[in-house]
Amino acid sequence: MAETVLVKGNEAIAMGAIEAGCRFYFGYPITPQNDIPEYMSKHLPGTGGTFIQAESEIASINMLLGAGATGARAMTSSSSPGISLKQEGISYLCGSQIPGVIVNMSRSGPGLGGISPSQGDYFQATRGGGHGDYRTIVLAPHSVQENYDLTMKAFDLSDKYRNPVLILGDALLGQMKEPLKKHSYRKKEYSKDWILTGTKGRRPRLLKSLYLSEGELTDHNWLLYKKYKRMKCEIMFETQFLEGAKLIVVAFGSVARIIKTSIQMVRDRGMKVGLFRPITLFPFPYDALEKISLSIKNFMAVELNTGQMVEDLKLAVGHKKNQVDFYGRPPGSIPSPDELYNEVKKVYKKRIG
């Protein structure tokens, strides 16, 4: 089973989903995620699963809602404008507590934007995205291997919390090819005492998000809030070179991958720079960053946008007199490791000397 294959990031997600027992995929074409529906259309039928190319992103998220309501493992994928269309359904999934995995191989906006890598959907992903006071778990892989591993994890988390889980990547993570070590997966079983199967031998079950009676919706929202709090135990992040670091670079996803090279370059020149890479964007690792900020005063957020995650970084470390710098690259071009090396060096010289 520990076979190594050379695959695209999008294919790794599809492979991880099937390995994790996903048997229902509903999608609609949009670049740069088309390899996912194409892979699913080819490989799901052989597993006894169902692939539907829906009439729209709206229909596909609602098909996922229907399949998820029966306890089936289901996935949909799209890219930024398509994810905007899915937000209605994501809000209903959260309100009705129906699991499902949603992949956003994001492209650049606003509007039709372009298909180049971007992290412009960070706010949309981490703040709920649709209407209402809700959250989805957001996983941010930075390699083809992580695309595979985190997709499997996404299905477990989704079942565990009865909540949709979002995988946030971009064209870089979807299109690049890397060696992938396949491995087997053991499905975690969670309580299914809520799924719709027909009422044989029990009272009818109802999955809904409409609460009109006095106080009912307040209680429902507090219940969801408590669930989002409980998700904190799922926080994941990666750190490098924290020991003795004077500046911590904070980056996720594709740009974190690029900046790993840049950080090695600045360290080779004697600058004490560390890396903090959030893997769960919601829940965000506020506490871990705050703890680091008690001994390290300088932080730098690097993103492929004009500044979104940096706000969470400031919430985490913005106490006392910590410095938070930011380098952002709006969509349209990808920064090279050399360019990011220069940006990190600039901040290091300014803050540390």
Partner: protein
């Protein structure tokens, strides 16, 4: 003494919230009768829509998932594909199915999903207070057509049964009314057929029910019932548009 009439088992014994003279209650009963008739209560999954019919789950004693506005046929597609042995139906009004949900109903029908769709057409958005629906009759006054529906600017009342019957994926498409005992008896037969095409795995079944909405039509129940026969049926003819009764 022989009991000749009773509440269907699939119908919960609570008062409906529907306004006096509304036909939803009658259509709910017909749905429940069909669920009983084919012994489907324990294997049915209903999909509720948005509008006056959203409280379907308070009355029909089966598992129910609530769909976003207009999306019931997509939700039902997901349910039915995951549980092909269950009986799956949607219950949608004309705002839901014929306005915001046109894409979902057309494509679910065109894929030939094994679903039964109960469509209630009362020519207005009822729940929100009687605004114009795609099915609003030409000249009809609503809260958003205060001078009557003008077809040159608001378009024409849409005939969903005829439209869907053009799709090769559909199996049984009909329009019924429950305004008279005769129409009601006919409606029962049509709904049974829409159930059977699913239970016999033949394909997509759809029945449009013309319904009165006395509150939003600003009529008495009696006047509203009369309007169904005098104004709606001439424009929305009753009958079978695809398939046939055995």
């Amino acid at each position: 003494m022989k009991q000749v009439f009773k509440r269907p088992e699939a119908l919960v014994d609570v008062p409906f919230h529907f306004c006096p003279g509304c036909h939803h209650g009658i259509v709910h009963r017909l749905v429940a009768e069909c669920i009983d008739r084919y012994g489907l209560r324990e294997k049915t999954i209903g999909v509720a829509s948005v509008g006056c019919s959203v409280f379907l789950y308070d009355y029909i004693d089966v598992d129910v998932v609530e769909a976003p506005h207009g999306r019931a046929p997509a939700v039902a597609t997901g349910v039915k594909r995951a549980c092909p042995d269950n009986f799956v139906f949607t219950y949608q009004g004309d705002g839901d199915l014929a306005a915001i949900g046109t894409a979902e109903i057309i494509h679910a029908a065109n894929r030939g999903e094994r679903l039964t769709v109960v469509f209630v057409n009362n020519t207005v958005f009822g729940m929100t207070g009687g605004q114009m629906a795609p099915t609003t009759m030409a000249g009809q006054e609503t809260t958003t057509t205060p001078f009557g529906r003008q077809t040159d600017t608001n378009g024409f009342p849409i005939k969903m049964a005829e439209l869907l019957s053009q799709l090769p994926g559909t199996t049984f498409i009909a329009r019924a009314a429950v305004n008279t005992p005769k129409n009601l008896m006919r409606a029962k037969k049509l709904l049974r057929k829409a159930f059977e095409v699913q239970t016999e795995n033949q394909g997509f079944g759809f029945v449009e029910f013309l319904s009165a909405c006395p509150t939003n039509w600003k009529m008495s129940p009696e006047q509203a019932n009369k309007r169904v026969g005098e104004e709606m049926i001439p424009y929305f003819p009753l009958g079978i548009f695809k398939g046939e009764l055995k």
